[in-house]
């Protein structure tokens, strides 16, 4: 285990442990309603950057809905939505490049953690993230009264010059794990729900343990529709996408 103290002792170790938590995104169910984006922002104290900065591309979201068009306008076949968040890679490109160990792999949750206190803002991790999942605090953003009252006390408020990204709502994972421990039982499947999963009205997001073959998330990720984003880069993402259902329906 001592080797785990070094976050760069790469995928070999991490992947044999087969990580604990994973997410499945069903693109055939996603309606693109953005409820997950809002819920995530509320849960994780993500600041509003203002109109001007948002228009320039600095809007801070840990999850974004990418929308694509299939076919030309008027002949649009479908408008698939692709929610993208940090893929919590097993071999994360963001981790080795950070000069101060602010981007590290957590041992217990097997997710990629960002240590806000340690970050000095070189932004190398964001450049090296093939999913463009990271967001940067370009300024100190204010929360005018009464918005400051809705801050989540379980989540750190970040200041300017610091990188941040999706944590799989690690505070919720911890809360449920602690509760289960005090009740001397295992965490039940579906008991942990990150904010995005909880908010999704279409049930397009499934969260759970990928090391348990019976969990909903494991079963969904064995589906024939399952793909990983940018699989060819070998990042070993912990998020699985389901898509192509309409093709199956057409062929059936």
């Amino acid at each position: 285990m001592s080797e785990l103290n070094n976050p760069q002792s790469k995928p070999k170790l991490k992947e044999t442990e087969q990580g604990k938590w994973g997410l499945v995104v069903d693109q055939d169910l996603c309606t693109g309603c953005q409820a997950c984006v809002v819920a995530c922002a509320m849960e994780n104290n993500i600041p509003f950057v203002g109109e001007e900065d948002a228009a320039y591309g600095r809007a801070m979201h840990w999850i974004r809905i990418e929308r694509f068009w299939e076919g030309e306008y008027l002949e649009v076949k479908s408008t698939p939505f692709q929610p993208v968040m940090c893929q919590q890679c097993g071999a994360a490109p963001c981790e080795p490049v950070c000069p101060v160990f602010a981007s590290v792999h957590s041992e217990s949750e097997q997710v990629n953690s960002q240590v806000y206190n340690r970050c000095v803002g070189t932004r190398y991790c964001a450049n090296n993230c093939p999913y463009v999942a990271r967001t940067f605090n370009w300024r100190d953003y204010t929360r005018p009264e009464p918005l400051n009252n809705q801050l989540n006390p379980d989540v750190t408020v970040r200041r300017r010059g610091v990188m941040e990204k999706c944590t799989f709502c690690i505070q919720r994972i911890r809360k449920v794990e602690d509760k289960a421990k005090s009740e001397v039982r295992e965490v039940a499947d579906g008991e942990v729900q990150p904010a995005c999963v909880q908010a999704c009205p279409a049930n397009a997001l499934i969260f759970g343990r990928v090391d348990d073959p019976e969990s909903n998330v494991s079963r969904a990720s064995f589906s024939g529709r399952a793909v990983e984003l940018l699989e060819e880069l070998g990042t070993k993402p912990r998020v699985t996408y389901l898509k192509g259902g309409s093709e199956y329906a057409r062929n059936a």
Partner: protein
């Protein structure tokens, strides 16, 4: 008949003297006072330029940087996904400039190129001041610059170390090594000249030079030690110089990005650095020659001709690496790389891509082959200026332009600089300001090196031919 023969020969020797500094010796005392005069004669024009640059540095560099730190990186034009911008363009650019100082000095010293003698100092000063700008630019880039000391491997109670797997850590160590090495390399050949200045000055200057010259008296033993040390440093600094820019290139090449992930980036960046650096040396020498007293004696057409030839060769080297990098990436056919290459030549900054090729390759190739053009200082100045602009464009294309294209087409977005522009002007002004201040404080020409060269060179008559002979002095 013999008299006429003598006149022709006399004429030929006179011509050689005019052309080559090494064959045109002057008495030691006279040359020493020429260099002292050059350092001490300061016209009002100097102070006007100095004052203007000080104001520019105060506003564009220090005030703007304070504003950037207080407000956050948001006042710069950086955005998602262009997380790196002009700050790092400037860093790579200034490290490139600083390369040539050491290159010209150390490599030419190692190979005993005689034409280097009058301008090694001027080139080495560029290294130190250029690196200072590169370091400032890195710190401007950081989101929380007040914590930058965390990149140092210093002992602390939490046993936290920098991450030595990160190319940025390598870069930090490499730049520090280079800064220390090149500063020592600047200082050592300066000692005899500082001693010379000590013996010829009064007042605060006397104290200043006495302290800096470390009590150098010019004994045989002192010279032996100094020569040995300079020789070691000249050889040792060359691999350091290569490593620095190679490691700078790894900041990009080691990343998982289309367009960056190229194995040829190391040598490509080294040659690119020399390309802009040697051009910058030429520019600085032209300015020194036309503004500083007595410099027309030391800096002659032969020196510009030699630098012009170097510029032409390095330009060919750069073109070779550029073509090699581009060709292989294009042939690979990766769809993201393909999109990026098209973005370079047909995107919003396509003019920059073409300007880069014209300024870095076309103009040097079309002009520098001619001895007349490359020996003319102002022609060389403008060709050098073009090369520097072209090389700045090259770095701009590699950093912010290439960052606009990534693996997630939904996030593609371009970059518009903000406070980067005044800060770039500020670093340039600061470089010139430091250089001007140094030109008043240290002898710009290494007198002892020129004198040594002139002692070694003699005109000998072999049969009817007058030839130049160079004695091995070291």
């Amino acid at each position: 008949m013999p008299a006429m023969h003598n006149t022709t020969e006399q004429h030929e020797i006179e011509h050689l003297r005019q052309e080559h500094l090494m064959l045109d010796p002057r008495p030691r005392g006279e040359m020493n006072s020429m260099v002292m005069d050059a350092m001490l004669t300061t016209s009002w024009k100097f102070w006007v330029v100095f004052a203007v640059l000080s104001v520019v540095v105060a506003i564009c560099l220090f005030y703007t940087w304070g504003y950037l730190i207080a407000e956050g990186t948001g006042v710069a034009g950086l955005t998602n996904p262009v997380y790196w911008g002009i700050f790092l363009v400037n860093t790579v650019f200034w490290i490139g400039i600083s390369h040539a100082g050491t290159f010209v000095s150390a490599l030419l010293r190692v190979f005993k190129a005689e034409y280097r003698r009058p301008f090694t100092r001027a080139a080495e000063l560029m290294t130190t001041f250029g690196l200072a700008q590169a370091a400032l630019s890195v710190f401007m880039h950081m989101g929380r610059v007040w914590l930058s000391y965390w990149l140092f491997p210093y002992p602390n109670e939490r046993a936290l170390w920098p991450n030595f797997h990160s190319p940025l850590s390598w870069d930090f160590l490499a730049i520090n090594t280079y800064l220390l090495g090149s500063t020592m390399y600047l200082f050592m050949p300066l000692i005899p000249d500082l001693a010379m200045a000590r013996d010829r000055s009064t007042g605060w200057r006397k104290t200043f030079y006495r302290i800096l010259s470390l009590g150098f008296r010019g004994t045989e033993g002192e010279w032996t030690h100094l020569r040995a040390a300079m020789n070691i440093f000249a050889f040792a600094i060359l691999p350091v110089m290569f490593s620095v820019h190679t490691i700078v290139s790894w900041d990009f090449a080691a990343a998982m990005r289309p367009g960056w992930n190229s194995t040829i980036f190391g040598p490509y960046f080294v040659v690119g650095a020399l390309h802009s650096g040697i051009a910058a040396v030429a520019m600085v020498l032209v300015v020194i020659r036309s503004t500083v007293k007595n410099m027309k004696y030391f800096l002659r057409a032969e020196h510009f001709g030699a630098l012009g030839m170097l510029m032409l060769i390095v330009s060919m080297g750069w073109a070779y690496f550029f073509f090699n990098d581009y060709m292989v990436q294009w042939y690979g056919g990766n769809k993201f790389t393909d999109a990026l290459l098209h973005f370079h030549e047909k995107g919003p900054t396509d003019w920059m891509w073409f300007a880069m090729l014209i300024l870095n390759v076309a103009i040097p190739w079309l002009t520098l082959w001619s001895k007349k053009i490359r020996s003319s200082p102002w022609a060389l100045f403008f060709i050098g200026l073009g090369i520097n602009i072209g090389m700045w464009f090259e770095r701009f294309i590699i950093i912010p332009t290439s960052l606009a294209i990534n693996f997630m087409p939904f996030t593609w977005r371009t970059y518009k600089p903000g406070v980067e522009i005044p800060l770039s002007i500020g670093t340039l002004a600061f470089f010139v300001l430091l250089y001007m201040a140094a030109s008043r404080l240290v002898p710009l020409v290494p007198v002892w090196e020129v004198q040594e060269g002139q002692l070694a060179h003699t005109l000998r008559k072999v049969g009817k031919e007058t030839i130049v002979s160079v004695a091995e002095m070291e």
